[in-house]
């Protein structure tokens, strides 16, 4: 059994003391930022990117992955206890979770969320381990044309599911792709858009963009709002365990949520957010036992389903990143960035060239999930205390970490200036209602896309139809087109807006 051998190697790697520590650290940090609203995994990972220079690749990626799924856990804790979703993927959890908490059943809700997430995490890990190798095989059959089409599909997929206007989102991707053009052309060696600034010939630092737009841009946006009055839920969390009836109700919801989340996570643009929305809708549609609490008033299925789905989705969204090197969402884009920083070219060859990294990361996800359950259930009280940290202490801390981080990238002030400049852009996007996440995806994929496009054209002697005549490539492009058409259809458009309305 290859699968078992591979997982064996993975667990061997993950069970070293250093890697366990980093998995734990990532999970704790992730939970922490998940609990704190306004500080998401994207910002945190961007903040931490420079620090991984000092680490080996494996512990670094294990830690970053821990932050990602830890944030899913933490976000649901606050969603349930104080109706403040720490993460966008926990928005639907708040609907029924908070109602349960108000009825004194916070313990049951938290346990359902925690255990459901753990179950989903285990399944997700197995799915990654089982499906990554065959997908990698497929990836080796890809030529430049297929890669280009796949990236088109990935980018389109990422935006059709994003909130807001589709045209604007695509324009944001293009802006990201264009910013990625500021570099030295790989093929001809010509520096482009450098304005004779030597630092720009290497391209704009990915971290500078991420920190400026997501870190500082968001701080400015937060500060411009009148200080929010957070409603702190005073009732203590008593009676942690759900009743037998709760288990009976929640289990099918967990199963449904897990399967749905696993599928949606693999799709480009999917991941945790979409999975949780879809799972909530599914739970609402499926028939419960007679006499159960209606949805929106504290139904445990409304917590268990979406929570399992968002964790499963978070987990399986690693698949396109690990096998194809193509990030399906902004967090994965940052992971790709982290791999490049460590000198690993993301893509199908990672599994063969760095098997320890690959399988260690997968095994550590399972361990991380286990840690999270152990960590979260008893420590809920402490997480709640954290919420009382006022923003006036929080934001200088973020500024400090980002500033030092961007300086330490190249030990130069230039990156700090760039970060400051991108703050303006980030705030402008916020004011103009433009989602910045697609820009980041475009920026990451830009150079790769250009290289593959030009290589494909070279191979076909300038014939653009190569993208449509090669079956795999054509299929991918058709899929991308279908996605756009489906989203443009009015009925779905209305639903999509409805689904995202709750997020604002």
């Amino acid at each position: 059994m290859d699968l078992l051998n591979n997982l064996g190697l993975g667990f061997q790697t993950a069970f070293t003391l250093t890697n366990l520590l980093y998995a734990f650290g990532g999970a704790v940090l992730g939970t922490l930022i998940g609990v704190l609203p306004g500080l998401g995994p994207v910002t945190t990972i961007a903040m931490l990117l420079p620090s991984i220079y000092a680490l080996d690749a494996t512990p670094a990626l294990i830690m970053l992955a821990g932050i990602y799924y830890g944030a899913q856990y933490g976000g649901s804790t606050t969603a349930i206890l104080i109706n403040v979703p720490g993460e966008s993927s926990s928005v639907v959890t708040a609907l029924d979770g908070y109602q349960m908490a108000r009825k004194g059943r916070a313990g049951a809700a938290l346990a359902a969320a925690g255990l459901g997430s753990f179950f989903a995490g285990c399944v997700g890990t197995i799915i990654i381990a089982a499906f990554a190798p065959p997908l990698t095989e497929l990836a080796f059959k890809f030529g430049p044309a297929e890669y280009f089409s796949l990236m088109v599909l990935g980018l389109i997929g990422a935006v059709v599911l994003a909130s807001g206007s589709l045209v604007k989102a695509i324009a944001m991707i293009l802006m990201g792709l264009l910013l990625g053009q500021i570099n030295t052309d790989v093929i001809s060696g010509v520096p482009r858009y450098s304005f004779d600034i030597p630092e720009l010939t290497d391209g704009i630092g990915f971290v500078a963009i991420a920190m400026g737009i997501f870190g500082f841009g968001e701080i400015v946006a937060n500060l411009s709002r009148p200080s929010e009055h957070r409603e702190v839920f005073t009732k203590s969390v008593s009676g942690l365990w759900p009743t037998a009836q709760d288990f009976k109700d929640a289990f099918p919801a967990v199963l449904r949520g897990t399967s749905l989340g696993s599928i949606l996570g693999v799709l480009p643009g999917g991941g945790a957010l979409l999975a949780s929305f879809a799972a909530y809708t599914l739970e609402k549609k499926s028939k419960g036992r007679p006499g159960e609490v209606p949805f929106g008033q504290g139904n445990i299925r409304g917590v268990a389903g979406p929570e399992s789905a968002n964790n499963a989705g978070a987990q399986t969204s690693f698949i396109p990143m690990l096998t194809l090197g193509i990030p399906p969402n902004a967090v994965m884009a940052l992971m790709v960035g982290a791999m490049t920083i460590k000198g690993i070219q993301p893509g199908p060859q990672v599994m063969t060239s760095n098997p320890q990294l690959f399988w260690g990361l997968i095994a550590s996800m399972w361990i991380g999930n286990l840690m999270l359950v152990i960590l979260n259930l008893p420590l809920i009280g402490i997480w709640i205390k954290l919420l009382t940290v006022p923003y006036r202490f929080l934001f200088p801390a973020i500024v400090v970490f980002c500033s030092i981080g961007s300086y330490s990238l190249n030990n130069s002030a230039f990156d700090v200036y760039m970060t400051a400049a991108f703050t303006l852009l980030g705030y402008a996007f916020f004011k103009l209602g433009c989602e910045p996440a697609p820009l980041l995806l475009g920026f990451i994929l830009g150079p790769m896309m250009e290289e593959n496009l030009r290589r494909a054209l070279l191979l076909s002697r300038g014939d653009w139809t190569t993208f449509a005549t090669r079956p795999l490539s054509a299929g991918l492009l058709v899929a991308a087109l279908l996605m756009i058409v489906v989203v443009m259809l009015p009925s779905i458009k209305a639903k999509r807006q409805e689904a995202f309305k709750e997020e604002d």
Binding site: V167, L177, F216, R392, I404, V416, A420, L424, L432, G433
Partner: protein, 154 residues
């Protein structure tokens, strides 16, 4: 003509400007041919495409009715400028004055961006964050960041 959505109007304008800017910039580089695309090929196409999309956003902003005109609202210039200035200043000072001096300046300055500023809070932040950053970045991760000003260490 009345602008129906301020947000879309200005973002459309931004997209058109950036797209055309990049496309124009791309004309400085060899365009090549489809069979041998040069360095200007991809950015030129992308820039034009973006300008077209920006045009679509603009068109929509001028034609499609919205409930409230989607105003951009007031720009929060104070936090924006304060944060940008303090970060840029930090980048300038750090290599010269070291972490121990430039970090407190950064913290106090950026704290001014918020609505409520108290010296006591700022001092707490300065002490906690400076010591914390020293411990994490210089001690823990051993990043090459100067701690003390150049004129002291020589």
């Amino acid at each position: 003509m009345k602008i129906k959505s301020q947000k879309d109007f200005w973002s459309g304008l931004l997209f058109v400007a950036v797209g055309l800017g990049f496309a124009w910039g791309a004309t400085n580089y060899s365009f090549g041919s489809s069979a041998r695309p040069g360095p200007g090929y991809f950015p030129f196409g992308l820039g034009l495409l973006m300008a077209v999309l920006g045009g679509m956003v603009l068109f929509k902003a001028l034609v499609v009715e919205t409930d409230d005109g989607e105003p951009v609202g007031r720009w929060a210039f104070k936090p924006l400028l304060v944060i940008m200035a303090s970060v840029a200043l930090f980048g300038f000072l750090l290599p010269r004055l070291g972490l121990a001096v430039s970090l407190p300046i950064l913290i106090v300055m950026c704290s001014l961006a918020g609505d409520e500023f108290h010296w006591k809070d700022a001092v707490i932040s300065v002490v906690v964050l400076t010591v914390g950053s020293w411990a994490v970045f210089i001690k823990g991760l051993s990043l090459v960041i100067p701690l003390w000003p150049k004129f002291i260490t020589g």
